[in-house]
């Protein structure tokens, strides 16, 4: 991703900022010009809570350039409680403990190694939600 693209998507990567469709009231992430549910023009900004559950996951051993230092790592499809699904890495958890349906919450982490231009890319990852102690 270029620096311009990183700047454009900062609200999405830092705070899961999406939209709510003014016609069908569905939550949308990331923002779109056209609502994928009802095809009307999409609407006002809606920031997701960051809570969701694991829909699916994979532990990746062969990884793309830019992610070699982290491997192996676990990527998940996370179903946000507002409805949209996102693709993100899981963090703060051992691989053995991941389960479909597990509640997770968003945290901000460094996403990839700095490239030649040295920019540090931060964005969302998800970690397990731990029950509060009594």
């Amino acid at each position: 991703m270029s620096i311009a693209s990183l700047w454009r998507t900062r609200q999405q990567r830092y705070s899961l900022q999406g939209e709510t469709c003014p016609d069908c009231h569905q939550a949308i992430f990331p923002p779109r010009d056209v609502c994928p549910y009802c095809s009307e023009a999409a609407g006002p900004v809606h920031t997701m809570s960051g809570r969701g559950e694991v829909y699916s996951y994979t532990k990746m051993f062969n990884v793309p350039d830019g992610f070699l230092a982290q491997r192996p790592y676990t990527v998940a499809l996370v179903k946000l409680e507002e409805g949209p699904m996102v693709t993100a890495q899981l963090t703060d958890i051992s691989d053995e403990d991941v389960e479909i349906g597990m509640p997770v919450e968003m945290v901000t982490r460094k996403l990839r190694e700095e490239g030649d231009s040295g920019e540090i890319v931060y964005g969302y990852k998800f970690r397990p939600v731990f029950a509060a102690a009594d």
Partner: protein, 387 residues
Amino acid sequence: MRNVSIVGIGQLPVGEHWDLSIRHIAHHAIAEALKEAGTEQVDALFVGNMLSGSLLSQEHLATLIADFSGLRNVEAAKIESACASGASALRIGHMAVASGMHDVVVVCGVEKMTDTTGESTTAGLATAADAEYEAAHGVSFVGLNALIMQRYMYEFDVPIDAFAGFSINAHRNGAKNANAMFQKPISLDTYLNAPMIATPINIMDSSPVCDGAAAAVLVASEQAGEYVTGHHPGAVQILASASANDTIALHDRRDPLFLEAAYVSSQKAYMQSGVTPADISFFELHDAFTIMSALSLEATGYARRGEGWHLAADDAIGPDGRIPISTLGGLKSRGHPVGATGMYQIVETVQQLRGEAGQGQIANASVGMAQNIGGSGATIVTHILGG
């Protein structure tokens, strides 16, 4: 609209061709196809390719290949739709001839994936996904398919060895194809002990990175007789050509476990040709990963949702089965040079329909279907061919 027929095919054995450049491998396939058609005069060259820009720093590919192949003053254009580039190029060629805009078109699918390191190629393949919202998070193309497979196994209570039959069938069939990358059968033990790439996908679930080129010459069916002379093996007609899309990102699918684009494009193809799934002699599906074989069979009408893997377990997909698939090795064993794959499927379908598939020949092959998938199910192109 005119009917369109294929009167020449050509292909390079799939493999790691470090001694050849993309222009050489494309020309090899084109020259073979033109020789078979007995013509040097074409109106247009359409090239299906995905990665020449990102892996080879070479765009303007169709003109490079036309130039190298001695095709001057013709129309030349590259068509890109990720791993569905090959069939998408065929579809453009089909439209050009069917409409009467062109009389003779050569279509070539070509990909050179082994000039770069594995990580660069993996990053290149990930460009088929949403760059800002999928690839940015480190998910590879295998990873996306692994997310589908993991959920499929969970939702339908599918055992881990359920997919072995797809891989075993592909390798068994590829062993009979001199153009396949891997010409060796595998055992269940080999499958079960294969190293993981992205859980639950192991190496034996996954098609290989490789180089390849395959081509076909298209003419109007009413003019095909001019080319089918002497020892020519005969023209094969394109009975249907259809394409449909879905969301680019897997996470945006209405149902990530159903290939809607495969359903829509195959239904369109069935309607165009008047053919039903039961009429089809064999099905060259897009087995880039074993999970995709199961999903393709479900979306095209051969199995209920969540039950595609039963066809592999029952060996209904073998050469003598109810619906033979990957008859000359498929993506798994013949190889998956991504932008070329759709054209290998077409070339192999023509070989089967002509009765020229050698030891891999399907008995009484009269109608063949080929389906080429781009991305994690985002672009799906279906062709049906017949004698």
